[in-house]
């Protein structure tokens, strides 16, 4: 049985002004799988995932060629609403970025932005999201305390809960554990493995072992090009391209 393709990059070129950051990227993202994107700094991996929910269009002088499809539909079509795309394709960043509001307000924020007014529904979604983000047990009695009082790992799980509240289909993680200790990292990794039952996940990581542990597919980017993509097990045991091998074995340079 073939996996369903949730998102697809077709011949994507991306420019910051005159500088080309991505070159002819063709890549499939399978539904309810974890796809890891690895590569050295400046290889275009963050640029790439930011295209998946149209975040890069906020960058001045940036331009795109090619298509990014979500369920077969080009997300850059004029008729497509960027806010709706960002609801369907959520994002969690490197540094936890809770709003200076209460835990409850952080999670309910996206619902307000998307026009949800039903208080009961909002409360239900907040609790469900906190539960799914494995944070509910930690904070159920402190919902109205400031989110800034939480630890770094808890703040990151709160950001995941905030993302889940608007019921996304795809979640993009841009180095979600870069600022976390190993215990919090382990929790986020467990959470990602749990979340993939319901969501399609794309993660950018510098931590190769993290990519190996949690992803189903791995894509290796270098100098704006997709060098190799395949099942994670194959990439980490027997990569086809010498450049991939040099990178994952630390011989790069």
């Amino acid at each position: 049985m073939h996996d369903t393709i949730k998102m697809k990059a077709e011949g994507v070129d991306f420019f910051y002004g005159p500088r080309q950051a991505l070159k002819n990227i063709n890549l499939d993202i399978c539904e309810k799988h974890v796809t890891a994107i690895i590569g050295p700094s400046g290889c275009g991996k963050s640029t790439f995932i930011r295209l998946l929910n149209r975040m890069n269009e906020l960058v001045p002088n940036a331009s795109l060629k090619g298509r990014i499809l979500l369920d077969g539909e080009d997300i850059f079509e004029e008729s497509v609403d960027a806010v709706e795309i960002r609801r369907r394709v959520g994002m969690v960043f490197q540094k936890p970025n809770p709003f200076p509001k209460s835990i409850f307000e952080n999670v309910s924020y996206g619902l307000h932005v998307n026009g949800v007014k039903d208080k009961k529904l909002i409360e239900k979604r907040v609790i469900a999201s906190l539960e799914k983000a494995a944070l509910w047990g930690d904070i159920k009695d402190r919902l109205h305390e400031s989110a800034l009082k939480l630890s770094g790992g808890q703040q990151q799980r709160l950001c995941i809960a905030r993302c889940l509240a608007v019921e996304p289909e795809v979640i993009l993680f841009d180095e979600p554990c870069a600022s976390l200790d190993p215990i919090s990292t382990g929790k986020i990794e467990e959470l990602i493995l749990e979340l993939k039952k319901y969501y399609t996940i794309v993660i950018v990581t510098h931590n190769m072992q993290q990519a190996a542990r949690i992803s189903d597919h791995t894509a290796f980017f270098l100098l704006g090009e997709l060098i190799e993509m395949g099942e994670t097990q194959g990439i980490f045991t027997a990569p086809r391209d010498k450049r991939t091998e040099d990178y994952i074995t630390g011989r790069f340079g």
């Binding site: 190769m208 072992q209 190996a212 980490f236 045991t237 027997a238 990569p239 991939t244 091998e245 994952i248 074995t249 630390g250 011989r251 790069f252 340079g253």
Partner: protein
Amino acid sequence: MERHFDEELKGINSEILKMGSLAEEAIVDSVKALKEQSREMAVNVINSDKKIDGLEVEIEERCLTLMALHQPTAIDLRFLTTAIKLNNELERIADLAVDVAQRVLEIVDKPLLKPLVDIPKLCVIAQTMVKESIDAFVNRDIALAKKVVLSDAEADKLRNFVQDELVNDYISKDASTATRAVPLLLIARHLERICDHATNIAEDVIYMVDAKVVRHHPEEL
């Protein structure tokens, strides 16, 4: 870019090479003890096994430490897993040389049943296969590894020949020859098992270099 880790891997390479030479020496000496009817030589083979056992433990610990500390991937991972397997195969090979030496001790005081022709030939095949399989590992030489795998058929043929000869020409004609024939038969069997272990090493080398599993799939060679 040369990494500190590469130095460690080279160290494992040298240790495996050392283990290979010791195993080879044990095979040759065990059969030499048979040819020369030398109790002393057979006992030496048995006693030297401790050194090989010690080296096996040392190599395994070094490999496990590197895996734990460096979490290797791709060719580094394949190299270390192959080194661990190969280390084990070499230890088994040396044990089989000890088995040969023990059989020699059983018949060392008795006249040889017949002039030795095929057992020394089998010994040369076993020694060559072990040497070449280790060379293939050290030099990542797929062609040599394939040659080793293909040599195994010759070893099987010789073992069968020795077995048929001892059973049909001696044991079934005169049961009293069994006490001298059975150890020879077992020696042929031990040498042939050594060739099987060398074949395993060569198959692992092919996996290490090409990431292709040829074990149980001779048609893949």
